[in-house]
Symmetry: D2
Subunit: 364 residues, 4 copies
């Protein structure tokens, strides 16, 4: 299965950056879940992001739902989201038909699709394809909320500037949901934005880290082998463009800990089991413990930079140089944030439906 993810609840993405339309099909979600088109539009807006920090390309990104919703609620059949492409200036991309942009998928696409791929604007590899994921994810997020499950992602780092960690999880998560530039510490947000602007002025770009926390997922979800919840989440997260690393709980830092430091000692509080630390990120043996699920995602700097770069000509396979023009983001970590939330929501809807049945997410 190529552009489809999930088993009981699945999402299929389609489209090219400069094609007629992009979108997604969300299948298997329980019937009866309210579909809030305003919330979808809001999430789409977050993905588009703000002025000077992002690409100058302006798309309405209005989402048309053509199936699977009736009287404002999910029917249980596939929900199809269509987003028409409008502001496509394909002439900017002429040279890219044959020069492989470093850090982009032009070369690997050529090796896979033999020149038949739609190269314009990155085609099917464009970050723009995440718009369909965000639309589908908005419905998934609503479904989870109906069962008391919340997801919050902040920009943990950008351009080398670090945000504080999660404190009061519920308050932080609630606040992050509506932030365009989702940083917990306002001063750090300004520093990050300055770093992005500096890179942009320098014709360069910056990367960053996202940190996600999920509360309310029951214990006992996931599998011991192969479909561990970490495996499934990482699988989905690594398909967000530019993600180069995923870690849970203490993550790579756990590798330097002693067992006596890393073990999360269980404690019983009023009959529910928890732990003062969460080095395992809420998942042990591949299965949720009921603690918050916590993970971090590394985003590489945007590969589109405005400096001359060395590369090869895809037709002749000879060395050449490339000067990228057009409209590009000096950073995408702030835009990727809502994509991480969306992907996480879609994974959890699937896993919860597998575990508790296809009706579990239904509004009661």
């Amino acid at each position: 299965m190529k552009n489809t993810f999930g088993s009981s609840v699945s999402v299929t993405v389609f489209g090219e950056s400069h094609g007629a339309a992009i979108g997604a099909v969300l299948d298997g979600l329980a019937p009866g879940i309210p579909v809030d088109e305003e919330f979808i539009a809001f999430q789409m807006k977050l993905r588009q992001s703000v002025g000077a920090l992002s690409t100058a390309r302006r798309e309405a990104d209005s989402v048309r739902i053509v199936s699977g919703v009736f009287n404002g609620r999910t029917t249980g059949t596939p929900i199809t989201f269509i987003i028409e492409n409008q502001d496509t200036r394909s002439k900017d991309y002429g040279e890219l038909a044959y020069k492989a942009r470093p850090g982009h998928a032009d070369f690997s696409a050529q090796m896979k699709y033999h020149g038949f791929q739609d190269f314009r604007g990155g085609g099917h590899f464009s970050g723009r394809i995440t718009a369909g994921i965000v639309a589908a994810g908005a419905v998934a997020i609503s479904a989870l909320r109906g069962r008391g499950i919340s997801i919050g992602t902040h920009i943990l780092s950008c351009g080398g500037i670090y945000d504080r960690s999660f404190g009061d999880i519920n308050a932080d998560t609630a606040r992050l949901g509506s932030m365009e530039f989702a940083v917990l510490d306002d001063a750090k947000a300004r520093e990050m934005q300055a770093a992005i602007t500096a890179a942009k002025q320098d014709g360069d770009s910056v990367g960053g880290r996202l940190e996600t926390i999920v509360t309310g997922v029951p214990a006992g979800v996931g599998e011991p082998w192969f479909d561990t919840l970490e495996s499934i989440l990482a699988h989905a997260l690594f398909s967000i463009p530019a993600v180069k690393g995923v870690e849970f709980g203490a993550g790579f830092a756990a590798a330097d800990m002693l067992g006596s430091q890393c073990n999360d000692c269980f404690r019983s509080e009023n009959g529910s089991v928890t732990a003062p630390t969460n080095n395992n990120g809420g998942i042990i043996g591949g299965i949720t413990t009921g603690m918050p699920i916590l993970f971090r995602t590394a985003i590489k700097p945007t590969p589109s930079i405005f400096r001359e770069q060395q590369t090869v000509d895809l037709n002749t396979l000879e060395n050449t140089t490339l000067q990228i023009k057009g409209r590009h983001d000096p950073a995408i970590v702030h835009r990727a944030r809502v994509v991480a939330d969306s992907v996480t929501a879609l994974v959890l809807c699937d896993q919860l439906a597998i575990r508790f049945g296809t009706d579990w997410l239904k509004a009661e």
Copy 2:
């Protein structure tokens, strides 16, 4: 699909630490691939590992192949590996029937299996289950070698001590294959072993990092969305017990780079395309570039430590303390190494069969 991984080439694991037998079914591998039982036994030995650094449990781990091999070659039908359990001292585990070991899956297993799980020695969550993966992986490694594909993994760090990075990839990979404690720098190997011994004497344990490199995979393998090669590899790697992080190429460090530092500029050399840097780890847009595939895996310290720990009683959900006895590893990173190789080989056999057909791996 729970204990099964892969689509065209798949592996299914089964068994419990103290059950009758453990093993794996490897399905879909091309017919005609030589099955070298000595190499399987050698790989099993590497997983068992060396004296003082590992558990005192001694299993022959002799692998019996009961199907799918005829006249020393794969038939193309499921290959079943059976490893009988022998040295099981279940009485050591009495108390663990009800006390959740911190860092172990006892609590999450209880929430999933409601007390019906075989708790002895971690049951189905035991690292021992990786023996079936290593047996299956040995055949996969042989199949890949027949197509010029090599996998090498070294212990990048253990107990805070770091090995050098890969230098001459082919020489390093060749050497690593047969090392029991797979560290490129001998002096660092001794330091790591000292760190493990120190932790052991202290009733504690250490974690580490593995770094894997794969050469010879053709460009054009993987998918742009959801089944990116990074997604599939991470999916499989996160099901190795104790893995808490996976990163490709520059990984988390890429998040702090500028685009101009991170982009791997393509160069043509004698008609083949390569790049002086490999910050993308051989995969861009989810698809191989033909550069070596490079990734790192974080392994948390062994959760079984010999110090009193706080925990809860699974029956009463009341607070209690726990003192683990029995035979345990003060580190598993050196044993996990061959598991990482095996999992990688199984993933690649699957992806190559999907891409190039079910006969591609067949010996010619």
Copy 3:
């Protein structure tokens, strides 16, 4: 996976009879395959079918391809087909909101979707959803033709009238492709049409049988267990609405044969292996033999009839009667024909890509 079928080449359907649009996503097809929009339109026309024998509902059924095609060829990424609904007279269906039509899925849908389903015109259960399958199937049929594989389906029986069997397979297949009412014997075609008209005038409906033959599929495709080619084809065929039976080769008649009658004795002719009989329908042990693939599909009579029928009220679960109004087909077997071709083509594209790799279907 719910509304998705296939592994290497997959199709996802979406839409409701009276929703905004219906369609399909075809993913995984090799890059470089010519996409002939006229042929797609022609196939859509065949599915709509002819005047008096079919529903009075008139839809343009023009197919808009919004992704996956570039410069007239497949790119290798998902191809999305959108068909807008236009001639929807939902008021005809008012009573059906709560009265379960016998033979229709109204009752089972209610039990699955709890009243949230879009009941108008059968919603997602409507035969209209096959339009997306036919659009996707048209591209699949073209891809197969490029490799010398042909599919032909005729109406073997309708309303109790039987067509002759296949004679000159190549000639019959070539002729069937463009027939609106696909019967090999013209006299029988007229008798069948008379039977349909008679049933219609009587407020009743008729069923029928389809017989499909496929030539050019290489030997060695399929699996011995679970994914036998018969299993995969039957899986897909049984999802065509109204199909109640599938049989291969001699099918049910084989159950009354002796082994000496049923065995297809192999013969070698000019170095290629064939057999004078084809009681196994080209598949033995789940795997193609290289003989034509032959199967028959039973289609029940259209459940929408214009006679008063007994049923229950879905809200009160009390007994009531129902008089169906609106526009309906007195037979669908002639319209289902192109759907059978399409489903067969999609299955074969998937199986061939699994067997020979994702590029095998690519135009050379």
Copy 4:
């Protein structure tokens, strides 16, 4: 996925007729289900079947469970069944290394596995592989019984002799469970056995039909497209060796009915919805209605007959003749009966777990 079937509950088969062992892995079944080894042995006995009517090969077929069962109940992890092969007289098969037996998979196997297949006794294509399915199916049947779901299959026809149809479903189902030659009408049973004996004496073989009824499955299980319950059941049934047709409810006969005859008119009785007829076999729109699930399966005559047959030499591809020796069944329909029950049970366990969650089948 090749030798694996199912998503939430899956079964993987392995082994060759004359290899070391055969078996199955049953994964995903809820924890806490009692595993009755006597019932497993009883089912295995039914599959082996009785004296003169079946092969002279005698296998103990004792099933060893090596994982997934603890204290007599399922743990929720993979259950592995191993059946050692013992009575293998491989020398009987010498000639079959190169002569393709008509009606058998020898030729198609050669085209798929290129001569590396284990040809002895049919290898992985042998009906013997169904022993693993029957062992796994026995546990599935027990799990379903715990939720009030019963499966009954009778030999509807054999050698042209027809049994009566189901009458009192519960009584018939209860009685069939323990019958070695499962025919409802005793006189017809004797006639069928005479037909088998006559064919055997003539060096020939006979086929037959199985009819299966399932009661107690809740309404609302299955999907409208692709994973219709008919699709899933047919998928599984067509992987039983020798099955050439599957039909539900009225099946192929429905093709000759009028809509007014075929529609099952719903009636409400004491608040539960049912119908006096069951021409749809308990499934409409791919989803259960709560009526009994009813289907028939066509079994071709055993291809191993003791008459000289024409065939080709697999090495030279030249015409030759073949005289089969060894031990073979003159009929398998009576042995296939318990396989049909087993496959049906495995499919239903999977579908119910998908619909209602992984714990639904757990003993309460």
